[in-house]
């Protein structure tokens, strides 16, 4: 295995900065509330120390195609 990921099924998670988040949202023309969510107490969010309101960028690889997926960190 090349990657040092925790598990095969867990893609790389990363908290992105506010400016990056804003430009990403602008490029899609949506608000944070349109994003899929991830709970603050999700094991991956915990590991990154993400706080509610952060945006997590996920490098997904689906059926050979890689793309970025975003989740908005929310309280339970």
């Amino acid at each position: 295995m090349l990657s040092k990921r925790e598990h095969e099924l867990v893609p790389t998670h990363k908290v992105i900065s506010h400016s990056d988040a804003n430009s990403m949202l602008a490029s899609f023309g949506i608000s944070v509330y349109n994003l899929p969510k991830i709970l603050v107490d999700d094991p991956q969010a915990k590991k990154l120390g993400a706080k509610a309101g952060d945006i997590i960028e996920i490098e997904r690889e689906d059926f050979g195609k890689s793309y970025k997926y975003y989740r908005h960190v929310v309280e339970r």
Binding site: I38, P43, Q44, D62
Partner: protein, 345 residues
């Protein structure tokens, strides 16, 4: 012009009802699937898993525990090459209950002792010694258990109360004597590339990951919620995709991966695993009419009336209901005219 190009380049056109198409693409082949639950899969003797339509329903309903949990435990390189080493780990994991190794239990109420007569044949078949069983039993129940004559086990309780002794007997016969609770019968299997791994007819990944020699980064379970608890929502989504895909493939049904991905994304969009249906995705809809049109019509309407809810008529269902154009496809586009340009002509 820029918008037109963007539209042309995108893989899905704006206003395309992808959700409906995904639902139909999975629903139609579903009608051709077998309704039987049990079905042998693969060569491994342990793998008598729920398959076909019942499994699909189980996944989409987001059942907390799968009806036939399965675990695939891969091993670290130094263990994965020899059968003996892999078998050693499998023995550590494999769950064995007292009931399957004992013949009967005899209680001595006046002394407060229980004599457990073991079945030598099954003990040998499962590679267990009486000492191991006694040690584990003592740990599980918190009582003194030792090996007596003829390899039988003597449990000494600290009470002579008839009811309490009987309660301990019942507990002892149901106790685990080897392995990890819930892990089920584990067996060593060989992959095509020669690697040995363990397949198990139960699932309890948290303790199994701690076992020495187990490669925790490759452990796999078909238990969605266990994956969610340990690895988070993204891993649960991936498990959902893999399970749906595998179940469909087992029945020689091909559904485009994108439909499966979309369904998995929709089910995990709010950070938890939501079922599809009244208690999950549909129940979360904003529109009162959309919910009323699905199930439990009267309940939703009465609730909405009692609490003075507002329906903004933004969805598909509610607009069909009142005979308006739906906000999909052509209906999602509205026409606006700039005043000044209009005047020039």
């Amino acid at each position: 012009m820029k918008m037109a190009k963007q539209e042309y380049d995108s893989s899905v056109q704006a206003g395309e009802p992808v959700g409906v198409i995904a639902a139909q693409s999975l629903g139609e082949p579903g009608t051709q699937m077998v309704l039987r639950t049990f079905h042998m899969v693969g060569a491994a003797a342990t793998a008598i898993a729920t398959s076909g339509l019942p499994r699909i329903i189980e996944l989409l309903d987001a059942k907390k525990v799968p009806s036939s949990p399965i675990m695939r435990v891969y091993l670290k390189e130094s263990y994965a090459k020899s059968f003996a080493k892999a078998d050693e780990i499998a023995n550590k994991i494999s769950e064995i209950k007292m009931g399957s190794v004992m013949r009967r239990a005899v209680e001595n109420f006046s002394k407060g002792k229980i004599l457990i007569i073991l079945n030598a044949q099954s003990m040998q078949a499962m590679d267990l010694t009486a000492r191991q069983v006694a040690a584990r039993l003592g740990k599980e129940l918190g009582v003194e258990a030792r090996v007596g004559e003829h390899g039988n086990i003597i449990v000494s309780t600290h009470t002579k109360n008839l009811k309490e002794v009987r309660a301990i007997t019942v507990k002892a016969t149901r106790s685990i004597v080897n392995g990890i609770e819930g892990a089920g019968r584990a067996m060593v299997t060989q992959a095509k590339d020669g690697e040995f791994y363990i397949e198990s007819a139960g699932s309890n990944i948290e303790p199994v990951m701690q076992v020495e020699g187990v490669d925790a980064s490759r452990i796999y379970t078909n238990d969605l919620f266990a994956t969610y608890r340990v690895f988070g929502i993204e891993a649960a989504r991936n498990t959902l995709v893999l399970e749906l895909k595998k179940t469909l493939e087992d029945q020689d049904i091909s559904v485009n991966d994108r439909h499966i991905s979309l369904i998995a994304d929709a089910m995990t969009a709010d950070g938890t695993i939501q079922s599809i249906g009244r208690h999950g995705l549909v129940g979360r809809k904003e529109s009162v009419f959309a919910k009323a049109a699905f199930e439990e019509t009267v309940k939703h309407l009465i609730n909405a009336a009692a609490f003075g809810q507002i329906d903004y008529m933004r969805g598909v269902t509610e607009n069909i209901l009142v005979g308006k154009q739906i906000p999909l496809g052509t209906g999602s586009v509205k026409l606006t005219i700039k005043r000044k340009e209009g005047k020039k002509k």
